[in-house]
Each structure stands twice: as structure tokens, then as C-alpha cells.
Symmetry: D2
Subunit: 308 residues, 4 copies
């Protein structure tokens, strides 16, 4: 078992949940996709996030998926999304998965929060419910939650709640927020791990601004691994070259509501999962979109070959 | 076991969940409040609605509350709110409570629905998930869900989904919507039971426009029972006299986010529940508000005595 | 010319703009309604507010309405709503109406503001644009603007921007916010005039909590005048008696989107304006609603007679 | 004077408004940027759109900008955004600019619209206010307006309102919407010009799906001109090659709220406008972001040279 901490870094892939065409969970593909992420160089995984198909699971299914992935990860860190409408549900799910060996619990703010004091108070209640020995990932995703966390309140949360070890950064635009946190740290604020989401669309800049890596779900996790590694090593030109080769597809996969179908199409095409099926009410990529994605992948492979 | 149908009428009280001051469910008070609602003349109950404390329960607690209330109701109808982010959870909770003897499953539209076709399609999926032998209550509550259901789409839902037997009406303003549905029925559309929410703030007018009664949660359910009975009997003046006597408190209890604390204060003052405690993050009424409520109740009692 | 200040109190009626049935402004009725408000005891008026028909005017019409009302008011205070998408428009309209003799400029926060620092910064920019010799009314109306102003940020705005002399209070629930501001003043914060909106639905409690009166638009302004006077004099029982007599209609008029048609129906019935017409896309009250309103007024008159 | 029609195509650049550092309009730069767009191959311009700095202008400034740009365009089409809170203001501004020689009036739906019938009715009122001889551009931009226009209601609007000649398409994801409109046309629906926004992020796919071009505001309009031309000519590989060279910057400029500062930085760097200043409350790009943009432009130039 390995817990995240304020120095966690690299790429935590947001894992897709594979289904059979009839909507049942495809456990074998789940194992395969878990293995595949690590083979591609992932440092960890994140499951049951709010934007994927987690809300389509029953609670027993969600718990079983967590158990399967954590077991399969064999000690490598798996962050589990535990956002729920109530604190009791957050506490129960968090305890269950931490007992299984999860690396941390990820919590996004509910859209009912309207003011800075409310946001601060909410995370106070979450920490109280989870106990301060559970490492927490704060998911900052205004486009989905409609909760905008100001620099001020972020600072106060970091100061007051030491068990929040990681920021899943998906504010948009959000580069200045990363820079501000790192500047505050230079001025004495405790360190926070920052992994970036937003489909990886700003990964080179994010790492250059001080992010520790990515936590998102692109169909070719190798891109995120390599870009993060190169950018951290200071080889920004090569990082951007690699990034640019994948960017047309990153862009296509970043379409909200459509991205998961794109990702599953890619994973199925790559042979990682058996079927690109989404559980209802989700739908697979239509033929026109699938052709567009295939065309982008073909171009991407050509470009990568040119890059060497 | 008794199922709701398109002719269900009267008052279905939205039941409060009593807690001990430490946040644990107070099962004895739950029995007492259940009994009390029926003693006050309720025709049925509604539990686990979206605006109360249902989201603060864990799923096992929610199921246990449903079992306790349905058992205690001894065959009188209990509608159970089953709204959830995913269809699988809706289906599972609905099956569980229908097996216990619930009278119907209540579903509000998720706030992600943006267009008329999306709203129509969503209820289609819900019905498919529940099976068409489960009577469904459509909860139409734009202030909370931000989903506005137009007359057109309501009509199409009624036409296409016969297992939707009841509308929980909380559109605001919403009197015209009731009139429109009744007019459509006069023109041949199948009948729908309409019970009104919105804290009862428009109950006399709602019944006069054709509603079958109320489904909401005022601290003195007797008011709703009497107003509904009188208005249905055509005695609008007496209905309004009774309503007006309670109106200052109805108004006070209708404050969003505060209403439940008011209601519990009233129920505790009436001796129905042991403690006015809310589960965190909710808070009991502060002293100033409690004094205002007490003053309104004193005036209400005096006014009711004058009315005879 | 009379400017509002931190001690302004009483009732500022939100004035309706009368139209002819063809949509043209009815200037004679505008004079009559202006006179009528003062005859009913109003201490001032507020015009071009965000919830009425101001957005339906062209800018020249808006300016002409302001000129007409301010002139007709003969030195009694007229607050003018100047909310606009841009600071330049706010500044220009504000200067124009202050030059005509307006008593102050009312500004609501734009819905784009998401965080406490953004809200604070916005009012800083507004004050900079208006100059600090223009008395400003801060309109706090989350139901319409979706901007929630926390007690903290309100405190900082009061401290940092001395030209904000008045709060138009329409937070809901909002009684605690009034009490908090008065408590802060007792602890040394500068005074702020607080006039309450929300259709007057909580006027007795608001004044008892420390509000200075009302700024809203009920069809019988006399109610607000009398309730404010009685509650300030400490005669809460009589204040509430008067309030309760009007409450069924206050409640009916408080329906969002419908209230203005109700108010115009009442004003036309009272002979104050010639036509209850709204400018398109607004619509007059339909027959069923008009009958409900008439019935409530008849009952109200009877009840007032009983009260003596 | 040239009006848009259902066959308008190519690139209509959303024009930036240049300011001096003190916030005053820089009229000479405005002329220069107007010329520059046409030199880069634009087929037309669009001004006073809702996402730029139009709301920061006073109404006289807005009218003067329209006059200056339309005059400078010397007969080439200039679409003018006329969205406003009220129909009277929309009508007045529209008449004013059409009299000056504007090519059409662009109207986005106000965020108060919640249902399909409301959206349809709103455009009906707009057309009635504008008169059916004014060519209208329907701006479909849910991310900014929060109004989602379903395929159904789009179809009914096209059918019922022949003076709507163009769709400014910024739904996201939105490729299927383009395909659907073209399929409906193949089945007999009247033709509509479709120009795409969204910062050009999906331009190759949009044109391939049937869009007629772009209406958006990237700092190098040449990209849009060339990609549109190549994609229409069926040379998708070359179109995508050109697009990919600019994509890293397109992506950076597509950040909401930051994009305009990026664009002005680029235009100033290119010597087209004198200052990258935004009118308050906007702010110029900070140094870190400016360096990122400069780096992307350097790489872009290198890549374009490689492409030949």
C-alpha cells in the first residue's frame, strides 16, 4: 500500500471502466487496461472520478471496481474519487477504499457552494469526516462543478488542512493558479502536489509552471508520461515536439461529453479493452466521429515516426 | 401494500428524518413522526426527497429508513425519492423499496439536462430502468434542479410514459401549468395525479386550479389536510381562512435552506420528535429565528381560535 | 436634490413603468403613479431596477423616464438602477441621472462574478468609475444574479468603499445577514442603510432585525409604509396584524416573472395607471390569475376593515 | 453594401477593438486591424460580438466603431452583434447599423431562456422587432449563454424564420450539429450558412462536415483562410498540416477570458495594433504568459517554414 503525499509526481491516469456491449462490467478488460496504463509508464491511477462513468455504477459495483484495480495495481498508488452529495457517503466510501489500500481520496466541491467561506468550510467538514490520516486530493474543476476556487481560499485551505496533499488542477484558464501556489510555497507555504487534468491540453506549460505531472485520461498515456518527463528535465522543445504530435487528438478527445467515447474507441483500437461500449445513457462514437479519430491517429503515428 | 395511481389525491407529507444531537438517526422519533402525520390526516408520505436530509444518509441508512417508515405506515402509501446520478443506482434503490412495499418511486431530472428532447429521453431511460410496473412520480422542481419542463415536453412525457402516474408540482410560478394539464385532459389526454409542493405556499389556488392535493412538508400537516379538503369541497372562503391563519409560518418555513430547521423546531416543540437536530453540515435554528417562529406559532394559535 | 446616505430609511417604492396597450410609454400614468406612491407615504422611489421592465427600454427612453420621475418627485429621493454589462455604460448612465438630481445609483453584481475577491474587485471598479461622490446602493439579489455575497466580503466592501451608503437587501434567506451587519456596526463598523426587497415577504422580521425599511414594489405601498412605521415603533403585534392582512396578496405578487403583471393589474384596478399592459415580451395577467388576485384583494379589504 | 445570405462562406474574422493604454479607443489601429484582416484574406468581419470588449463600450462608442469599420470595409460584409437585454435596444442598434451598411445582425439567446418553446419564441420576437428584411445571424454559443439549442428547435427556427441566414456555430461538442443541419437540407430543408467559432479549434473537421467557414478571432487569420480553402477543396491532409502548425497557439488562445489578451499580444507583436491594452477591467497578458505565447509563435514559424 502506498499513500500519495505532497511530493507525489508523474502521471496518474484516470482509468476508463470497460463494459461489455450489454452494459455489464468487463472485468478482464479492466485488468488489461490497468496493466496497460502501468506498462505505458503511469506512476499511479485514479478511478471513480466524477466525469467518467462512475455515477453510472451502483455502490457495490463501485466498491468492487476499486478493489479490483487496487489489487491489480500491486502496491502502486490508486487514488479513488469519493465525491458524493453527503458527508456520510463520502466517509463510508473513503473508509472502504482506504482499507483496501487506496492511495488517497479525491473530493470535488458540490455545486451548491457559492462563497469563499462556504468552500473553506466544506473542506473542513470533509477532513473532519475522513479523519486527518486520509490523504485527500482536492479536485478543482469549475467547468464541471461551477465552483470557482480563488487563490485566497486555496491558500487558506492549504494552510488549514494539512491532509490535503494534492491538487487535481483543472481550472481553466489555470496556468496562473499553478504559478501562484508555487510562489506561495517559495514564500513559506507548505508544499502541495499538483497534477493537472483538462485532458492534458496544457501539459507542457503546466509542468513548466511548476506542476508535478498529469492526472487525466488521454487514450495514449505514453504522451503524458513522456511530456512530463521531458518538461521536468527542462527539455521543453522536445517535450513540445512530442506534445504537438499528439495534440490534434488531445484536442478532439477534450470535447466534453464526447471524450470518453473517443478514449474508449482508442483503447479498443489499441486492443486494450474488448469493446468501446459505454454504459447507457452513454453512446459509442458514431461512424463519422470514429473516422475522424482514426484519421488523426494515423497522422499522429506518422508524425511520431518523423520525430524519431 | 398500496400503489399510487393517476387518481391519488389528498396530502402526502414529506417526512422529516429525526436525529439525535450526535447525528445518529432517532428511530423512535421516526416512528412517532410517521404516526403523527397520519394522525393529522395525511393520506400518504413521501421520504428520501431531494431537498431534505436524504443525501446526508449512507445508502444502507436510506434503505433502513424506507423499511422502517413503510412498515410503520401499515399499508398506507409511501412514495420514495430515488433520484441519483446514475440509472443503475436509481434502478437498484427503486427495486429495493418497491419490494418493501413502497407506493411509487419519485425521480427529479438531473441538472445536466438542457433541452426538451434530453428531458424526454431521460424519463424514457428511467422508465426503461424501473420497468413499467413501477408507478413513477415526476418531480418538477426547477428552482432546485434548474431544469425547466415546458408544457410541450410535459405533454409528450405524459403521452409516452403511462407508468408516470403523478406529478410532484413545484414549478414556480406554476398555477398555469396545473390548469394546462387539466385542460389537456379535458381534451382527451390521460389523467395524472398532481400533488403540489413549494411548501404549500399556493395550496388554495393550486387545488382550485385542479391539483389533487399537496406533497410537501409543513410543520402543521393539518393545515394542508384541511385546506385541501375544503378547497376540493368548493368552500374556498373557509379554505383560505384556514390557510391565511397558517400563512405567516408557511412563508417563514418556505425559506430555502432554512425551512427544514424551522420544521424540526416546530415538530420538536409539538413533542413529535425528541430533538430538532439536523445532521451536519445542517444546523439547528439560531435563537433569533427560533423566537420568530415561536412568536408566529403563538399568533397562529390565537388566530385559529378566533376562526373557530 | 436629495442624496441617500447611511441613515436613509423608510419605504422606497420600486416604481412600475406604465405602457399604453401598444407598448408606448404612458407618460401621464407615469406621473400619476409617481404621485400615488408619495401619497401612500413613500419616502423615496427606485426606478430602472433590474427585475422590472427597464431592460426593455432603449437607452434614450430610460434616460427620459429618469428625468420625468426625478422632476415629478420634486426633490424627494429617487434611486436609479444603473447596472449594465460594462463599466463605461454604468458610468455614463450614472452621471446622466445624478446630473438630473437622482439620489443615488444602484448596482447589482454581474453574474460572471464567481469568487469573493472578484466581487470585492468589481465594486472597487464601479466606485472608481462613478467617482466617490456618487452615493451607491449595492443590490444583493442572489436569486436573480446568482452571485452570493458572503458576510465576509460584505464587511470588506463596507469597510473599503465609503460611498456605498445603502444595501438593497434581497438575499433569501437573509434575516441573519441583516443581524450580522448591525452586530458589526455595534462593534465599530460604519453604518449602512438597509432597505429590503423580496416583495416585502419578510418585512416585519426584517425591520425587527434592524433593517431601515423596504425597497420593493408591492401594489399597495401603504402596507410597507405602515408595517415599517409600526415595527420601528416597536409595535410588532400591530405591524404583523397589518402585514398578515396583506400577506396573501404579497405572496401572490412575489411569484418571479409574474409579479409585475400582478402589480400592474392592482395599480390599474386602483385607477393609478390607465392600462395594465406590459411591453412585449411581457404579458398581462390571464383571466384566471386576475380573478385570483381580485378575490385576494376583496378578502384583504374585508380583513383591513375588521382590523380597524 | 453587401448583405449576408444563406450561401455566405469563407472567413469572417471577429475583430478586436484596439485601445490606447489609457483605455481610449485607438481609431488608427482600428483602421489598421480592419485592413489587416482583409489583407490576410478575410471574406468579411464581425464586430461587437458578445465575448470581446463590446460590453465595455458606451452605446455611442459602439455605434461609432460600427460606422468606422463598415466604412473602412468598403462594401465587404461586416456582421454586427446586437445582442441586448431588451428587444427595443436590439431593434434600435440593428436599425442603426443596417442603415450604415452592415451585412447582418447577430443575436445570441439570453440566458433566461430555459425551454425549447422559449428559444423558438424569442427568435420569433427578434425577427418581428428587426423586420424580416434584416439578415440575422443566430449565435449558438452554449458555453457563454448556457442556452442549449436542440436539433429539433434549430430545425423549427430555420423553417419558421427565413430571415435567419447564418448560424454562428459554437456549440461544443458540435460537429454532429453541423452534419445534422446539412442532412436536413439534403432532405429538403432550406439552406443556412454555417460559420464556426470556438476559436477555430475544430476547423478542419467542421468544414469537412459541411460548414462554410469560420467566424472567430484567432491572431493569425491567414490560418483560417487557408484551412477553410484547402478543406473545401478536399485537400484535407494539407488543410490539417497547416492547421496543426498553428494548433498549439490556437489551443492557447482558446482559453476563455484570456484569449483576447493573447490575440491582442499577437496583433501588437505583428505590428497591426499599437498597444495590446485591454479596457478595464480587462488586463494585458502577464509576462509569463506572454513568454509562452512568444515561444509558441517562434515554433509555429519554424514549423510553417518546414511545411513550405
Amino acid at each position: 500500500m502506498s499513500l500519495i503525499n505532497e511530493n507525489s509526481s508523474g502521471v496518474f491516469v484516470i482509468s476508463a471502466t470497460p463494459f461489455h456491449p450489454d452494459g455489464e462490467i468487463d472485468w478482464e478488460s479492466l485488468d488489461r487496461v490497468t496493466d496497460s496504463y502501468f506498462e505505458d509508464g503511469a506512476d499511479g491511477l485514479a478511478i471513480l472520478g466524477m466525469m467518467g462513468e462512475a455515477p453510472k455504477m451502483t455502490q457495490p459495483e463501485a466498491v468492487e471496481i476499486a478493489r479490483r484495480v487496487i489489487t491489480r495495481a500491486e502496491g502502486r498508488p490508486v487514488v479513488v474519487g469519493v465525491s458524493a452529495p453527503g458527508l456520510a457517503a463520502i466517509r463510508d466510501l473513503s473508509r472502504a477504499v482506504m482499507d483496501m489500500g487506496a492511495a488517497g481520496a479525491m473530493v470535488a466541491p458540490p455545486s451548491s457552494l457559492k462563497t469563499d467561506p462556504q468552500i473553506h468550510a466544506y473542506y473542513g467538514q470533509v477532513i473532519e469526516a475522513l479523519g486527518d490520516d486520509t490523504p485527500v486530493v482536492l479536485q478543482d474543476f469549475p467547468l464541471a462543478t461551477s465552483v470557482k476556487i480563488s487563490d485566497d481560499v486555496m491558500s487558506r485551505i492549504i494552510r488549514d488542512m494539512p491532509s490535503i496533499k494534492m491538487l487535481k488542477h483543472e481550472d481553466w484558464p489555470g496556468l496562473a493558479k499553478i504559478a501562484r501556489i508555487r510562489a506561495d510555497e517559495a514564500a513559506g507555504q507548505r508544499r502541495l502536489s499538483i497534477l493537472c487534468g483538462n485532458a492534458g491540453l496544457f501539459l507542457p506549460e503546466e509542468v513548466a509552471r511548476g506542476a508535478d505531472g498529469a492526472m487525466t485520461g488521454f487514450g495514449f498515456p505514453k504522451m503524458m508520461v513522456e511530456v512530463t518527463r521531458l518538461a521536468k528535465a527542462g527539455d521543453m522543445d522536445r517535450a513540445q515536439d512530442v506534445f504537438d504530435a499528439y495534440l490534434p487528438l488531445v484536442r478532439y478527445e477534450s470535447q466534453p461529453g464526447l471524450g470518453l467515447a473517443v478514449r474508449k474507441h482508442v483503447l479498443a483500437r489499441r486492443g486494450v479493452i474488448a469493446s468501446p461500449a459505454l454504459r447507457k445513457p452513454g453512446a459509442m462514437l458514431d461512424a463519422a466521429s470514429a473516422a475522424e479519430v482514426d484519421r488523426l491517429i494515423d497522422r499522429q503515428e506518422k508524425r511520431l515516426k518523423e520525430l524519431g
